[in-house]
């Protein structure tokens, strides 16, 4: 065998040389030479971090390819997408992969956050990486938001119109940032060029820096979170080659194959050409923003932004609140935590549709309080009611359920996540013309 073949295909036979192979290899050096055997159980991590990283890599590869064929001008953006879909060899496949893996990345990054929270993966000095992780999730959402302006179809135009209008409700710099992004009185050439530069240069640079730091910090923090081992017992440690690499390779191949097949069968959607005079009716955002859009139907934009903002801030601050280290690595903290989570999920599934229907059909806060400005009647009051309701749920678990801090936090977190899923479902399936409530069938 020539030297490069040896380097590529040589599989070390004994543990010592396997460990040296990891230590000497740049890519494999992401991993330690040995990992604890329980950390390899795939029902612990579900491989969500690794899958997200692979999808991010796929985004960069397909994204660079698309840049060669895409044209960021109002006159030609839409036709360049049509050309990619119909004329360019494998164009539809590459765009399909880019589109669907971006959608999947939202799901896996979100699930990754849920997994890390549920197993207390932010504990024992992992608070910094918890924050970086939340930052990465927000970055992925920004990627998706800036990306879907680029095809210049109806979804693009109206999503960016609404998004930049939302920004201008933010006090202080909101209007300035919105004006910068729009670069004109309405979404046009200026906005398209700005979003393109942000999508293909600014965000990828941030992504690469933050992802590198995220991985490095996992190693620095002593590997992924694990349950405390029982007293006076030793955890078996296995070599990374082949035990971890084999699982990762299998997961990667299965994921890539499924994605390619899916992208071949289902091309990425492209709506009609953007038309500033006629939004589609109903005009809906991409599904992952429908939870926020549903919230916007019920309260003042500032309140509709502050409510998820407050929830996200609370989630980011959880390492300061839930510090108990005994339950690290245990799903839901304990069995009681599991019951708390199920109760919270049932509560959210029941409560959210009731609240949506009551607000839609009977409750008109501004009409009830005509003397108050809209910002208070339809903003501050529903915001305080919502936050008060969330606090009530937390204390319900603490007092009636006798849950400890961690278990009650699991309950509240589950309520928030299931509420978001419920709101998203209402928005996607139960909203018809003029965004009125309808049955989906």
């Amino acid at each position: 065998m020539t030297n490069w073949k040896k380097r590529l295909f040589y599989s070390p036979a004994d543990d010592r040389s396997r460990m040296r192979a990891v230590a000497n290899n740049l890519i494999l050096h992401l991993h330690p030479t040995k990992v604890p055997a329980p950390a390899l159980k795939w029902t612990y991590t579900w491989g969500l971090g690794g899958i997200s990283a692979l999808l991010a890599l796929l985004q960069i590869l397909t994204g660079v390819l698309l840049m060669f064929r895409y044209d960021a001008s109002v006159e030609r953006a839409y036709t360049s997408i049509q050309t990619i879909e119909t004329q360019v060899l494998f164009g539809s496949l590459v765009r399909g992969l880019h589109h669907w893996s971006a959608n999947l990345l939202i799901v896996t990054a979100f699930l990754h956050l849920i997994r890390v929270f549920l197993t207390g993966g932010f504990k024992k000095g992992r608070a910094t990486n918890w924050l970086i992780g939340i930052g990465l999730l927000l970055l992925v959402m920004t990627f998706n938001f800036t990306g879907y302006l680029l095809p210049w179809d109806q979804l693009a135009f109206w999503a960016i119109t609404v998004g930049t209008s939302l920004l201008s409700y933010l006090p202080a710099a909101g209007t300035a940032v919105a004006n910068f992004l729009l670069a004109g009185p309405e979404v046009g050439q200026g906005a398209l060029r700005n979003f393109y530069a942000i999508h293909v240069a600014v965000l990828p640079a941030l992504l690469i820096i933050m992802m590198s730091y995220h991985f490095w910090k996992v190693r620095k923090d002593g590997g992924i979170s694990q349950p405390n081992p029982p007293a006076r017992s030793r955890v078996t440690r296995l070599t990374t080659i082949p035990h971890l690499v084999q699982i990762e390779f299998t997961a990667a191949v299965v994921l890539l194959t499924s994605l390619v097949v899916w992208a071949m069968l289902v091309p990425a959607p492209l709506e009609a050409l953007a038309n500033p005079n006629h939004p589609p009716n109903p005009a809906k955002a991409a599904w992952y923003f429908m939870g926020l859009q549903e919230l916007l139907l019920h309260m003042h934009p500032l309140a509709a932004m502050m409510l998820p903002g407050a929830a996200l801030t609370a989630i980011a601050a959880i390492p300061l609140w839930d510090k108990r280290e005994e339950d690290i690595g245990v799903y839901f903290r304990s069995q009681k935590g599991g019951i708390t989570a199920v109760t919270a999920a049932i509560l959210a599934i029941a409560l959210i549709p009731i609240l949506v229907i009551v607000d839609e059909l009977w409750l008109d806060l501004p009409a009830l309080m005509p003397a108050l400005p809209i910002l208070i009647a339809n903003g501050l009051i529903p915001l305080l009611l919502s936050l008060g309701g969330l606090a009530a749920i937390y204390f319900l678990f603490r007092v009636i359920g006798r849950a400890n801090r961690g278990e009650a936090t699991v309950g509240l977190f589950t309520f928030l996540i299931v509420s978001l899923i419920m709101l998203t479902n209402v928005g996607v399936f139960f909203r018809g013309a003029n965004m009125a409530l309808v049955m989906p069938f």
Partner: protein, 163 residues
Amino acid sequence: MSQQNNTLPMNRRDFLKMGATALSLLAALEVGGASLMFMQPRRLDGVFGGVVTAGPADSFPPGSVTHFPDGRFYLIRAADGGFLAVYQRCTHLGCTVNWEADQNRFFCPCHASAFDMLGSVANPPAPRALDLFPVSITDGSVVVNTADIQTRDEFTPAQLAYA
């Protein structure tokens, strides 16, 4: 030589260090400022066509709503014959509202806001009535100035322009 140094407020090394720091800060400020100015949005005013002549006043019957897509406005003629030009942009989050004559309402397809025929809010979440463009009637024809967007809380009769 050391005697000489003691009489000075600082030695040469410290002076150069301080100077280098000051110059670096100045350079950072310049680069930051230049980048900000480079990124400055170039907003164009009145691109909807500035002043739009909608047509002879007689061609709009009282109680009618006419869409002028190029001017981005709806021309409303109230039942008493007064004219009102409303910006088509929803005051909530900027989608174009649709006029639905059978329900006598403007509807926003993005967040379910509704406005009555004169542009006042009929259903939240819109925070205020549809914005206005000034209307004048000269020589029997309706002229709308789309460069001047005027906000209002709700409809008042003073907003109507008469022939």
